[in-house]
């Protein structure tokens, strides 16, 4: 599903060049649960953004669903993202002006789905995260864990094949964090590919494929149960 070759990302600001990624070769198959770990500033978010087609690499190739995307424009990447990739962020990134239901419904709206179908799917997704009683609340009226559950509902509502999560438990206490991790594991069991950035070894335990980054390079990679090395 994901295959990168010698992926590099260099940020240039005020004449200072930061090499955030420095030659990443990576392969993630469909149905995998993959955790990316590493110290702060080693390039985890950068990698996730590129994998999620939110940004282009400076160098290297990236095949997403066997399609070369490293040099595609934002327009084309947007088309590929739609319906294929769901995102979960550490800071939730819900739209404050919209209710829980409206937030979750949004990806379907952009897919051009008819209203009754949208309603059905959005409610099912919210229900799955046990948030249906809060469907008309605004994000600010919810706790962090609840907000993250809404964000996950929103990520899965369009049946995304791939979910990218950047420190999804980073802003949560361990109980709420565990709850979120269980939900992600459940999604993975049902066939969704998940790539997650985390600092917590405990959370990484849910994954069967772990990648350790340091200074923009992969320094260690572990795969359980018959997946490739």
């Amino acid at each position: 599903m994901i295959k990168t070759n010698n992926l590099k990302k260099v940020y240039t600001t005020d004449e200072v060049e930061t090499t955030a990624l420095n030659g990443i070769d990576l392969e993630i198959s469909e149905g995998e649960f993959c955790a990316i770990m590493g110290p702060s500033g080693c390039g985890k978010s950068t990698l996730l953004n590129i994998l999620g087609l939110l940004d282009n690499p400076t160098e290297g190739t990236y095949q997403f669903l066997d399609y070369e995307v490293s040099d595609k424009s934002e327009r084309e990447r947007a088309r590929l993202r739609k319906g294929n990739i769901g995102f979960v962020f550490q800071s939730f990134n819900l739209i404050d002006e919209l209710t829980v239901f409206e937030n979750v419904e949004l990806p379907l709206l952009y897919l051009g789905m008819p209203e009754d179908e949208r309603k059905e799917k959005a409610e099912a997704a919210i229900d799955r995260m046990n948030m249906i009683h809060r469907r008309n609340h605004f994000p600010q009226q919810l706790s962090g864990g609840q907000q993250q559950r809404v964000a996950i509902s929103r990520a899965v509502v369009a049946n995304a094949k791939l979910i990218l999560a950047d420190e999804p438990t980073g802003n949560l206490d361990s109980d709420h964090g565990d709850e979120v991790m269980k939900l992600l594991a459940e999604l993975n069991d049902q066939g969704t590919t998940i790539v997650m950035v985390t600092h917590s070894p405990h959370d990484a335990g849910y994954a069967e494929h772990t990648i350790n980054l340091f200074d923009g390079q992969i320094v260690q990679e572990e795969v359980e149960d018959g997946f490739h090395v």
Partner: protein
Amino acid sequence: MIKNYLKIAFRNLGKRKGFTFINVLGLAIGIASCLLIAAYVLHELSYDQFHEKSDRIYRVTQTTETSSKNESGATTPFPVGPTLQNDFSGQIEKTVRFFDMQEEVRTILNAQTEESFRVDHFYVVDSTFFDVFSADLVRGNPKTALDEPRSAVITEEQARRFFGDENPIGKQLIFKGVEEFTVTGVMKALPETSHFQVDMLVSFNSLPELYGSREFLERWFWNPCWTYVLLKDGVAPQELESQFSGFVDKNYADREKGETITLSLQSLTDIHLYSNLDQEMEANGSIFYVYLFSVVAVLILVIAGINFMNLSTARSTERAREVGIRRVLGAQRGQLFGQFMGESMLMTGLGFLMALFLVYLSLPWFNKFLNIPLGAEVIMNGKVIAGLLILFVIVALLAGLYPALYLSGFKPVSIMHGSKSTQSGAGEKLLRKGLVVFQFTLSVVLIIGTLIVYLQLQHMQDKKMGFDQEQVVVMPITQTLIAWEFDQFKEKALKSPHITGVTGMSKILGSDRQIFSKYSPANQPDAPPTNMTLHVRHDFLETYGIELLAGRSFSRDYPADAENSILINKSMLNQINAQTPRDALGARFYYTTAEDERKPFEVIGVVDDFNYTSIKKEISPLVINLVKEGRPTVRNIEFATVKLAAGSTQNGIEDLRATWKGVNHIDPFTYFFQDEKLKEIYKSEAQMSSVSGFFTLLCILVACLGLFGLASYTASRRTKEIGIRKTLGASVPNIVALLSKDYLKLIVISNIIAWPVIYYLVVQWLQEFPYRIELGWNLAAIFVTVGIVTIGIGLLTVSYQSLRAALINPVDSIQQE
């Protein structure tokens, strides 16, 4: 500390170059328009202020009322001046009369070189002219220059024209080939801000010699003189005015029965802006436009100012985070306050500098546009500079105060946590929206207003004159050989294949001048003793394409036409109780001669109404009479009119010139086109409409700049939201629509609010015109078109920003937080 603030301010402005530029430019355009208008308004207000005694000088005006007419004229009969001086010597220090010989061509011949020149502003004035008005004599003695008959004072410019570098004093000038004048003085040209201009002044006591009689100087019927009085110190004009009714009763003995005459005093400095009487010396300005432009200037300034504050405050909410951190690090409230005020002052200062630069760039162009010479000195006077400084402080304070107070009052914790406090409040948003609506409503009102003014002026010029204007050439011929040899001239001119008609008449059709003579319907006791009259030669109707409704035109087949026949216009039907034009044929009029003899005239034809006088006036009843050869022609036919064949303007004029030269070797060939002359007559309206067009454009520009700024602000405020929406699959058009929708709604609302406003204003304004455009589907069409155009402009303005926001990489926008 101040230095530190300024440093930070500069950096902040530099970081947001685009925003700073838009914000400052909007303010600068607002201030610059305001300054330009201020210059214009000050110029208009300064008329006639240069006369040292301006506060004591008044013009005597005369209103004549009968049952059928009400004329307010700027002129009075010849004896009014001297009689006033004589009767009220306790209150009046001096009087001075101006008489215009009403000759369109005043050919002055240098007696030595026999070169001839045209002079435009030529007045016969009393010798007291220099006692009353402040005009500088460069040569000659102001006390005596106009004492002797046949004395002439000319301006420096004319002196150079007539005599080159020679000393003009004592030189001879010849007027109309016969009358001699001696130059006794050379004066400086009057300033532009005078309600009359002078090229040449001639002593009043030349008149008896020029006209070969002094009798007319004592008549109280004809009123051709502009009469000014200089009141003694401390005399109130009302004091004198209150005695005028007795004065009228005593002196206007030969006024007609049922005629009421009122004399009034008009302050010299009010003439230019407030006076719009018949027979003004020159077209005046109008206080209406002074008010109108002042209002527009203030509105533009308010829009620009509020825009400026709006954008500054909107931007500052983005900096809540920065403020929070600064506070955490120990900044005092006062220090933050100082920082924001510093930025605001810097930005306002830049705006003012830019405004001065814009004024400097546009002033010459503005002058050309308005045809007035405004210089930097109009603006660079103490009052304007003081006003600018006050304005600077107000704008800087208002723009800086709100963010300074608002942001410096934040509690650090609330800023660092939770994003809520950086959001604009509902009230603030409403204010911003209200402002956009206000700006666009105003812009729409101005656009539609300008369009309607333009349409109305077109309408007046094209449609309702009632006579042909195209290819019609008019030549002033008073007291030229052409007037004497009119028939010979006509015969020769008609030989040209490019000339299709020749006629003569007593005044320019469509000009302000009115001629009344003693034609009155017989057997109608209520009818006025005089009627508006047009003296013509044969072929008048044909040359001007005026429609004959019944009867016949003057014809050579009826040699007695000049003695016993007249034409009337449709408006006259009422006065003679005729139902249809046909009914009027054969109706009898009496003409009362100077010897009080009654001569009968018969109506032989009725013509459709046409604009004898200004198109701003309703068409009055009119008598058209035919003037025969000889002396009457010379006196009454002041203009010859020639109709050229379509498409042969050039050749026609050449043939005409040759014909003129062949008949008249003395006077230079002078002509104008009827349509151009009328355009000139209505120049001030046309000028005002182009000026208001210009400020309309500015208003829209400023409003759009504000919208542009607000849109870019909104787009930046919503960057994160846009990013999120994009990660969820929103397309670029989705985002553009999302961001533009709100503004478009506001512009639509503005249009709808503007409609009743403009409708009300237009109906009021059009009331002034007897011939107005009809407001029906065309107004609706204008409303819709302007609506579409403003929406289009708004969309372009907003979508640029929206598109930019929509095309950002989502990763950049999400990371903003």
